[in-house]
Every structure is written in structure tokens, then in C-alpha cells.
């Protein structure tokens, strides 16, 4: 690097140094903080009734190592990263590294500046999203991302927060996003306000060389047991999500969602024909975390879900059972059973069942 090239770097360093020192003197609550976590997941999946070409491809083994950390300096500077190293055996064995998030952030007064790959969730749905323009794609049959492999978008983002108001501006690039054809360079805006219990957002933006879009979201808790949420968006056509959650007195929760997206590439699933017209989907999940009412079952969680396409009457039944062991280990079983005619969206899935068994270590 030439001397001329070094001048702006030195100036920037000097400004940052002075700024940090001034902040130190003003702020008696200086706080450095470091958090880390490490997960290791062994996941073994068996496909039942598959039409896969070889016996080996009916079995899939995945070993995932997931370190993450966040360093917060002086309540002002942030450095954070979540990566996944995966070894996958499905006939052959492949290794690869996935960067879910890695970003640097700076907070100045009411502003937060972020550069890097970020996981952003602007939509309100559990299984679907109409407005999540920067969100990683949701998988309705695995809405909690069992293996933690959803990755963020590469972006520059500025957030401003004051009282109940918050404004975010983001520019996300498609350059490093892999092979997803629907991911384009995107400029997006979000205004969020919490008023009278309504957590409400207005979202707008444009895919460069693509569509413009706009949407609104809300969440609201009603009484002791009900939560309602919804997204409405316009991207060539209207997309609607409406959902709710009910909590029973003994802790069981029921989540229901109805999602109606237009049949355009942005919303269309890979298995759906472009000529299929608008589709509507439902998601129903019933379950309970910690079955503590049953003696000896305190460490167990159990959920059953159904994802359905209302047009072709196909769907997937999903069962999730988890059990914790002490402070570091847990295990799970995740089962999916598609149903419907062979030409329907979910009925065309080339297996009758898929069952995953997993062990997770967390530190």
C-alpha cells in the first residue's frame, strides 16, 4: 500500500481513537462483553418408500460443528460470527463450510451501522413470510431450522431507534448468496413502531433489476392466551399471511397460519408449476415444550404439524420429539410424511417418509 493509501486509514484510526476515548470519559457504564457458543450435531436421516436410485442414497448422515461468538466492546463496537462446518455422507462424503452470519457493527447515539452477512427476520410468520424481503427462506416443515443452517444476506444496514420508533435501511447484495435464483441485489426500508401493544412495521424496497415491493406486518397479544400476527405485501400481486397462537392453561400451544402468495418466481416453491396459479397454504402446529405434568417427562418436548396446500389438497405431516439430557446434551426425532396425489406439490415428493435422529451437544 502506498503512503497516499495509508493517509485515510490513519485518519480513520485517529478519529475512531478520539471518538472511543471521548465515549470512555462520558460513559461510566463501559462494558466489554464476549459470548460464545459451540454446537455439535450428529443427524442421521432415513428415507422410507423412496424411489431414489441407490440404496445408499436412502441414508444420509450429517455431522455439523457450529461455533459462534459475539464481542461487544464498550456498548459500541460489535463483531459477530456464526459458521457451520458440515460433513455430509450420502453415498459419498462431502465437507463444506457455511457462513451463517459474520458482521461488524458500530453504534453511535441512536444509530447502528452494520456491514457483513446478517440474519434478518422482518416477516412475522412461523412457517411462511410475505414481507421478509431480506429473510432467509423459511421451510414450513422445519420452521425452527433444526440444524441451524439458515444463512443471512450480505448487506450494509443502518438502524435508527428512538423511543417506540425504529427505522432500518439496508442494501443487500446477491453476489455471495449462492445459487438461489430469486436472490437479487435488494434495497429495503423498514419502519417499526410499538404502540398500544401492536408491534407494527411498514416495509418497502426494490430488487435492483427486478420488482418493487411494499408491505405491512403486525403482531398483537390479546388477553392471556392469544397472539395474532400477519403480513400483507405487494410484489406484482398481493401476498397475505395471517396467523395466530393459542396457549392453553397447561402450556400447550397451537399455532395456525394461512398464507396466500402469488405464483411468481419470488414466492413459488421449486416443485410447483408456473402455470399452477395462486396457491394457498396452511400451517397448523400443536405441541408442548417440557411435558412436566407427566412424571419423568419434564425434559421432553413434543410437537405435531401439518403443512397443506389448499388447492391440490397435498401436504406434509411433521412430528418433532426432543429430549434434554443434563445441561449440554439433547436428542431429537424429526419425521415427515408427505401426502397427496403424485402430481400435487407435496405428493410429488419422492419418498413416503423421512425420519431424522439426532444428538446435539451445546457448550
Amino acid at each position: 500500500m502506498s503512503l497516499h493509501g495509508l493517509v485515510p486509514v490513519m485518519l480513520l484510526a485517529a478519529v475512531m481513537s478520539v471518538s472511543a476515548r471521548a465515549q470512555d470519559e462520558q460513559d461510566s457504564s463501559r462494558k466489554d462483553n464476549f459470548r460464545y457458543s459451540l454446537s455439535a450435531i450428529e443427524d442421521f436421516t432415513v428415507l422410507g418408500g423412496t424411489i431414489a436410485p441407490t440404496l445408499e442414497s436412502r441414508f444420509q448422515n450429517r455431522l455439523l460443528l457450529e461455533p459462534s461468538f459475539t464481542y461487544l466492546y464498550n456498548n459500541r463496537w460489535t463483531l459477530s460470527s456464526k459458521v457451520v462446518g458440515e460433513s455430509e455422507t450420502n453415498g459419498d462424503t462431502h465437507e463444506h463450510l457455511l457462513v451463517r452470519e459474520t458482521y461488524a457493527g458500530l453504534s453511535v447515539a441512536d444509530f447502528d451501522f452494520t456491514v457483513g452477512r446478517r440474519l434478518v427476520h422482518w416477516g412475522t410468520g412461523y412457517a411462511f413470510t410475505a414481507t421478509g424481503v431480506l429473510d432467509p427462506p423459511l421451510v414450513a416443515t422445519d420452521p425452527t431450522d433444526r440444524l441451524n443452517i439458515r444463512a443471512g444476506r450480505d448487506m450494509v444496514k443502518v438502524d435508527w431507534e428512538k423511543g417506540p420508533h425504529a427505522v432500518s435501511l439496508a442494501y443487500a447484495t446477491s453476489g455471495l448468496s449462492g445459487s438461489q435464483a430469486t436472490v437479487k441485489n435488494t434495497a429495503a426500508f423498514r419502519y417499526n413502531i410499538l404502540v398500544n401493544g401492536f408491534d407494527t412495521s411498514i416495509i418497502a424496497g426494490k430488487d435492483l433489476a427486478g420488482d418493487s415491493f411494499a408491505g405491512v406486518t403486525f403482531t398483537r397479544v390479546l388477553g392471556q392466551a392469544w397472539e395474532l400476527h400477519g403480513d400483507a405485501a405487494w410484489r406484482q400481486h398481493a401476498a397475505i399471511l395471517i396467523g395466530g397462537k393459542y396457549t392453553a392453561r397447561f402450556g400447550m400451544t397451537v399455532i395456525a397460519e394461512l398464507f396466500s402468495p402469488p405464483n411468481i418466481p419470488y414466492y413459488r416453491s421449486e416443485t410447483l408449476s408456473p402455470s399452477a396459479g395462486r396457491q394457498s397454504y396452511t400451517f397448523l402446529r400443536v405441541g408442548k415444550s417440557r411435558l412436566r405434568e407427566l412424571p419423568g417427562w419434564k425434559e421432553w418436548d413434543a410437537y405435531a404439524s401439518v403443512v397443506s396446500n389448499l388447492q391440490d389438497h397435498s401436504g406434509v405431516l411433521v412430528i418433532d420429539v426432543r429430549r434434554g439430557f443434563g445441561n449440554h446434551f439433547s436428542s431429537y426425532v424429526h419425521m415427515e410424511g408427505p401426502f397427496g396425489s403424485k402430481r400435487s406439490e407435496y405428493g410429488a415428493i419422492p419418498y413416503a417418509t423421512t425420519t431424522s435422529f439426532g444428538i446435539r451437544f451445546q457448550q
Partner: protein, 255 residues
């Protein structure tokens, strides 16, 4: 303070006057009792909330049939009576956060990376619920009524009946025993809207921190599953100026 004795001496009543006076005295004393009860409650809250803005850690050990079967660690950041942010620090829960803003509550799950609204009933789940960790300003959540004085062991106590005054209150009703000499919490019973007792608590140990007496250890007993209890240990108390943006519900860049 208004002196009831002086008022009564200023009358030379007939029967009607006596009735009027009795009514006046009764309503006055009820009003005073209510005010006093609320003041007692505020005083007792100071044993659990040392400063207007602070951070502390809570270690919860759950016991099943007398044996410790689970341990959880939380860092609680609290600003005023309306803003609480709880970070889950135990290995299996790392990445989880809980945010309380008045009556509204969100949980952040690492697998969804987004805030999920939770209902008041969801706050009750668990041996020690999120409400037990996050909502410790009872004077902001409950109306207090003085019931009577009574002995708990060898201690003279004021018994208060607390009734939820807002949606965000964790319990519908609490019976709360406070040491008469300084309103230090001694024990409590927690009830649901149905009237069923769900938990009870003893406030076991206090500690001196920067000139304040603060709760160090309490035990929560499950009244539905009688063989289960949780011990909550509080530590690392520190007054701290907390930025408002820590309590913004839309933030996803949490630890």
C-alpha cells in the same frame, strides 16, 4: 399524617352522627390501609430491585424429588419497572433472550433469529417461569391490600393480598408475607385466575451490596407437582446505565 383519634374527639354525636362517624372512620381506615399496603409493597420491592437501572445474574437449580436435575443461568438487565431484558447463559439455552416492555413480552430464539411474541400464559411455564425472573416490581403489577399481621415462625409479619392490576402481571393473586419491622419479603403464595394455587415461595437469604440489602436466595415450590422445587440464587448485582436500544424489540443482533 391525618390523625383519626383527633377527629373522633371533635364530635359530640347522637346515634346518626355515630353511624356517620363510624362510616367515615371505616372508609378512612380502609383508604389508609390500602395506601399503607401499597407503600409496604413498594418498600419490599426495594429488596429485589436495588437500583432504578441495574444488572444481576440469576442461577436457577431445579430439584425433582430432592435431587438437582437441571441448572439454568440468566443475566437480567432491568431499567425502571417497565423494561427487562434477560439473556439465557446456560449451554442448552445460549442465544435465547427474553424482553419485557410493560405488558408486552418477546422471546428471541437462536433458531429463528426473530422476536416471537409470547402470551401471558406462556410466561407461567417452567418450574421458575420467565415471569418469576423478569417481573420483580410487584408494586407496578399488583394492587396491595393489607389483610392482617401474623407470625411466620418467630417473625411478626404483615400479610398483604396482591391482585393483578395489568395484563402483564405473572399471577392473578399473591399472598405476600413481609417482615413487619422492615417489609422484607418472607414468603409468598401464587394463585391463578381459577383460584388454584400454582406455586409458593420462601425468601431465604439476603446480602449487603453497596449499602443496600438485596435478595440473595429464594426457593419456589411447585404446588401442582409437589415433589418439585427451584432455588433461585442472585449474584453479580451492579447498578448500570443501560442504553434504551437494549430494550428495542426489533433488534436481532443480540448475543
Amino acid at each position: 399524617m391525618f390523625n383519626l383519634t383527633q377527629v373522633s374527639l371533635s364530635f359530640r354525636p347522637g346515634f346518626k352522627s355515630a353511624m356517620l362517624l363510624s362510616g367515615l372512620l371505616l372508609s378512612s381506615s380502609i383508604a389508609f390501609a390500602a395506601e399503607d399496603a401499597q407503600a409496604m409493597l413498594e418498600q419490599s420491592d426495594a429488596f429485589r430491585n436495588g437500583w432504578s437501572s441495574y444488572v444481576l445474574r440469576v442461577n436457577i437449580k431445579n430439584f425433582e424429588e430432592g435431587k438437582s436435575d437441571e441448572e439454568k443461568l440468566y443475566e437480567v438487565s432491568k431499567k425502571g419497572t417497565e423494561k427487562t431484558y434477560v439473556e439465557f447463559l446456560s449451554p442448552r439455552d445460549k442465544g435465547r433472550h427474553l424482553l419485557m416492555l410493560g405488558d408486552d413480552m418477546w422471546v428471541y430464539l437462536p433458531d429463528t433469529s426473530r422476536p416471537v411474541r409470547i402470551t401471558p400464559l406462556e410466561r407461567l411455564s417452567g418450574d421458575a417461569s420467565s415471569g418469576d425472573v423478569a417481573r420483580t416490581n410487584y408494586a407496578a403489577d399488583y394492587n396491595a391490600k393489607f389483610v392482617r399481621t401474623e407470625k411466620v415462625g418467630s417473625l411478626d409479619c404483615n400479610l398483604l393480598e396482591l391482585t393483578a392490576k395489568r395484563k402483564g402481571s405473572t399471577y392473578q393473586r399473591i399472598l405476600y408475607w413481609l417482615r413487619a419491622s422492615d417489609e422484607r419479603p418472607i414468603k409468598a403464595e401464587f394463585y391463578l385466575t381459577s383460584g388454584k394455587q400454582i406455586k409458593s415461595a420462601t425468601f431465604d437469604e439476603f446480602v449487603q451490596v453497596r449499602g443496600k440489602t438485596l435478595l440473595r436466595r429464594m426457593t419456589l415450590y411447585d404446588q401442582i407437582r409437589k415433589n418439585s422445587h427451584s432455588v433461585l440464587e442472585y449474584s453479580d448485582f451492579a447498578p448500570r446505565e443501560l442504553p434504551d436500544k437494549l430494550f428495542y424489540q426489533g433488534r436481532s443482533d443480540r448475543f
